[in-house]
């Protein structure tokens, strides 16, 4: 009797397993589909079509479209492209197909954001852009970004706290500078700033400059960045490694390269020591417990 019921139970189980698994697969597929779609939606932020509800809540919400884009309708009043024909031109071959971020003329940002724009022109991202133009190839990190690659003109909100901005920034910079993001988050600065929302800690731009985006390979520039918070930092302070990563070592200064080698050698040594000491004492304690237990049980008999 008993074995019979058990058999029925196991049969039931297997009978339900297959449809359950199939349902699971379908569910996973649906999840993946919606996730991929959601991904597409975020990727389409700030392309040809603008969600006006989100736009109205953004920092630029009070601006009219033509203040940045010029007149789109062919009423003869516009200049350049806009004259005569509507923009975008439905008859054009690449209608709604060009990459808006790469083609937009960011000169219009300059009208209001003069300081940011002039800093950007002096910065490393525009140096990279100039290099890209002459060589025709993007750098290892990818295409040099212009304003719209980091900022969303339509959706970015104003009056965010330092920590909120910093969290978004770490993700934004991290899309191209993945290793730097990881090593920053492994460092005390990143942990306190991004993970714990500590506003006194440094986010990306606090060291690298908001629009200049210095690589800080130059020791003097690096020290200046440290001095913003650590007012008594001696010159050697700039050789403290913030982005502690053994990947892409050739991008780092010589002092940092040799520093990282020492740090990692000693780190491995420390790890071996810790594991050895713990292994010995854990075994010692384990055996000791067994022995004492054995003796106690023997006494009870």
């Amino acid at each position: 009797m008993q074995s019979g019921t058990i058999k029925i139970k196991t049969k039931l189980k297997t009978r339900w397993m297959v449809p359950l698994l199939m349902a699971g697969c379908v569910l996973l597929g649906l999840l993946w589909f919606s996730y991929a779609r959601a991904g597409n939606d975020t990727a389409s932020l700030s392309t040809w079509f603008v969600d006006m509800n989100q736009y109205a809540a953004s920092a630029h919400g009070s601006l009219k479209c033509e203040e940045c884009h010029g007149l789109m309708v062919g009423n003869g009043l516009g200049k350049g492209l806009d004259r005569g024909k509507s923009h975008p031109d439905p008859d054009a071959a690449n209608f709604l197909k060009t990459q808006t971020r790469r083609n937009f003329d960011y000169q219009s940002c300059r009208k209001c954001h003069k300081t940011a724009y002039s800093r950007f022109l002096k910065g490393e991202h525009s140096t990279a852009a100039a290099k890209e133009k002459t060589t025709g190839n993007p750098s290892k990190t990818g295409y040099a970004p212009a304003c719209g690659d980091c900022h969303s003109a339509h959706y970015s909100k104003s009056h965010l706290s330092r920590a909120q901005t910093g969290k978004i920034m770490t993700e934004t910079c991290g899309t191209c500078h993945q290793e730097q993001k990881e090593s920053f988050l492994a460092n005390y600065h990143g942990k306190a700033a991004v993970n714990l929302g500590y506003e006194k800690a440094a986010f990306c731009t606090d060291c690298h400059g908001a629009h200049t985006m210095l690589s800080l390979k130059d020791k003097e520039a690096a020290l200046n960045a440290c001095l913003r918070c650590h007012s008594e930092a001696p010159p050697e302070f700039a050789n403290i490694i913030i982005h502690d990563s053994t990947k892409n070592l050739d991008l780092k200064s010589d002092a940092k390269k040799s520093g990282i080698k020492w740090v990692h050698a000693l780190r491995v040594l420390a790890l071996i020591l810790v594991v050895a000491v713990l292994a010995f004492f854990f075994m010692h304690t384990g055996l000791f417990m067994l022995r004492k237990l054995h003796e106690k049980l023997r006494r009870h008999k």
């Binding site: 005390y188 714990l196 050697e236 780190r267």
Partner: protein
Amino acid sequence: METNVKPQETFQRFHILHRILHIVIIFNFTLLAVTGFLLHFSGFGWARFLVSLMGGAGAAGWLHRFCAVFLYMGILVHIFWLFYYKFVLNQKLSGPDSILPGKKDIRDLYQNLRYLFNKGNPPLFDRFSYLQKYDYWAELLGMQSMGITGLMLWFPEFFAGIFPGFFINIAGYFHFYEAVLAVLYIGVVHMSDTHLVPDIFPMEKSIFTGKIEKARFMEDHPEEWKRQQINPS
């Protein structure tokens, strides 16, 4: 059964100062470990939540440093007491009662390992067994290196003026690895060897009450017991 037995004869084992210092260490060590590991694991939601309960990263960092200073003050008090013990009370720091490691400890370790594999009798410990000595020295010396690496992380401006910059990074790793070692050693080895031993479980109280029962004294510290019988102090 035990209620019918007369209260056992007890002997004084720990001075009041050492019992207080032990509590100081428990309190600060725990808080240091908690706040420190919360920073290290701050990428996880639960760690973020606990830090927010403490009042944010600034408050948790302050607590970590406060406990570090408090703990080190305990160590300084202990070192002052050692000097007082030696020069004012004119007591000996060496000898069989000493916490200093000696040749007997190596013999005891060897004999104990043999005993663990059922190849002989357990060693006859004196006032401090080699494990107790190791506990003591691990704490006393470990806190020195935790203190130095901690100070390097606390005042990197000062230490970068003395050492190369990457020493601060090394200090960071050493501070973390030694914290892991200390927490796993105290949490597993020290806790098991003192409290989890079947004869003592659930708790060894002598470091808190200062007293040791006659039976435990005779079994755990037979050499000291023997000397006490010959020459009661």
